[in-house]
Assembly symmetry: C2
Homo-oligomer: 289 residues x 2
């Protein structure tokens, strides 16, 4: 019995969550659980089962490129409004994988040096090597999200970036990287509640920033910017997946499912030995008392 | 009831495992479990309890430096003969911590560029920032271990390096980094069995390298080199801990205990808000429908 047969998915997560032709962010209910027929309790069981499966697939991916000819890598791109749960995804989904096989990059506001280069310069430096699962906590998409909403660049530069992103991602995919783009989608009300919780608890104050309320005031503009990002950059080789995230348990399960399906597609195999196994056994045996 | 009160430690791990004055590696039994009165089953319970504790302390460490004045960091240095279990420590001990708070560096044979610099050049680049737990899988100690055994540098250069390491580590400690140096200590026979297992299982072949047997042939020279490393670089501010590692469950538990004790020493606190909490609540409330 595989983990797959136990889970309450009614559809592939990649199918259920893909932002295809005609997708309207405004029409997606952040409370919904597309493709999944279970409740929170089922979700906990399935998440635990998936962790073991993900750990196994990751180790194969790593082995295939470290001792074999494999060139495959996976890049998970996480984008979301504040408090939507990116950190929880990293902790509870990515955290179940051997840290030796993960390359995590958290992109903050660019430094002076980074701003002096093209916006993709700092991104290129952090793409995962073959065999690794890369995770971008925020990404090059900030440059067409906050970049657009806060007018950090002129409109023609923002326009240029959509095409540059499409080309850049196609190049990564051609090199063997599977890109899993995820927007965690919470509602305006849910964000209000989560930010208030940070203010209510002394052990959460450090996660709060007065700038969070300023950004929140621009909510409609950000939703528009996400809609445009999806329209302009959801391609066949690197589609967007929009994950309803008001229910944290569902968002974590869904991102795990997206990763599992991607790794199952790669189907990484243990590489064959590039040495003579019997000869090595004999050499080793000679050293054993 | 704290996790501490449940565990079967009879002594602080740092006391039980410290390689102090007069320490003789050859006298330490790799099968032993210093400071711990439990068996494998107890060890599993205590490891699980420790994971939650470690995760909590790590989050506080991170918070204290990200939103407060904290300058503390932790650096775990892992050294060992092949197959001693460094990978398992990273997976099962470090892997229980939020990946967002960990900086892992695996040092392989130096590149041409790295060899052109002083041996500490590449090390300096990977020391953890404040708030992070850094993990070195191999380290600058390779330069006085394989460097000495394989005569990759002249004896006077190896001599110079011991003092350079002591100075370097003192500087890190003065900057706020607690260094936890761990040698995982397995027996020659145990290594033979573990390498043979890699050859016996097709899914482990990728972990085997014919060079492993060549290194194994130099076992006595490596043991001597470790003894010298400990004598020359086990200082008050950055002592060595030698962890008997024939029993994997003990080694993992012991390294976890070393990290827990180090973090408890730091005792990181949630930082106070650097904004007016009530004023922010009012601003946020005004945005909530």
């Amino acid at each position: 019995m595989t983990a797959k047969s136990q889970v309450k998915w009614t559809d592939d997560a990649r199918t259920a969550l893909r932002a295809g032709e005609g997708f309207r962010l405004a029409d997606l209910d952040p409370e919904s659980t597309p493709g999944y027929a279970g409740d929170k309790k089922d979700g906990a069981v399935d998440l635990a089962a998936g962790l073991a499966q993900l750990a196994d697939l990751q180790e194969r991916l790593f082995a295939a490129s470290h001792a074999g000819p494999g060139r495959d890598a996976v890049l998970l791109v996480l984008q979301a409004m504040d408090s939507a749960g990116k950190g929880g995804i990293v902790r509870h989904v990515v955290g179940g994988v051997d840290p030796q096989g993960v390359e995590l990059a958290a992109f903050k506001a660019p430094t002076e040096e980074e701003r002096a280069h093209d916006f993709l310069w700092r991104i290129e430096q952090r793409v995962p090597r073959p065999g690794y699962i890369g995770v971008f906590d925020r990404s090059h998409y900030e440059d067409v999200l906050i970049g657009r909403v806060r007018e950090l660049a002129p409109p023609e530069e923002i326009e240029r970036r959509y095409s540059a992103i499409v080309d850049f991602e196609r190049r990564l995919v051609e090199g063997g990287t599977r890109i899993v783009k995820v927007m965690l989608h919470i509602s305006y009300d849910e964000q209000g509640g989560r930010l208030m919780e940070r203010l209510d608890r002394a052990d959460k104050h450090w996660k709060y920033n007065p700038g969070d309320v300023d950004e929140r005031a621009l909510w409609p503009a950000y939703q528009e910017a996400y809609q445009t990002v999806i329209e302009r950059t959801s391609t066949d080789v690197a589609p967007w997946h929009v994950v309803p995230a008001n229910r944290k348990w569902y968002a974590r399960l869904a991102v795990q499912a997206l990763l599992l399906e991607t790794l199952e597609d790669i189907d990484p195999r243990w590489p064959a030995a590039d040495f003579d196994v019997e000869a090595e056994k004999a050499r080793l045996r000679a050293t054993i008392r």
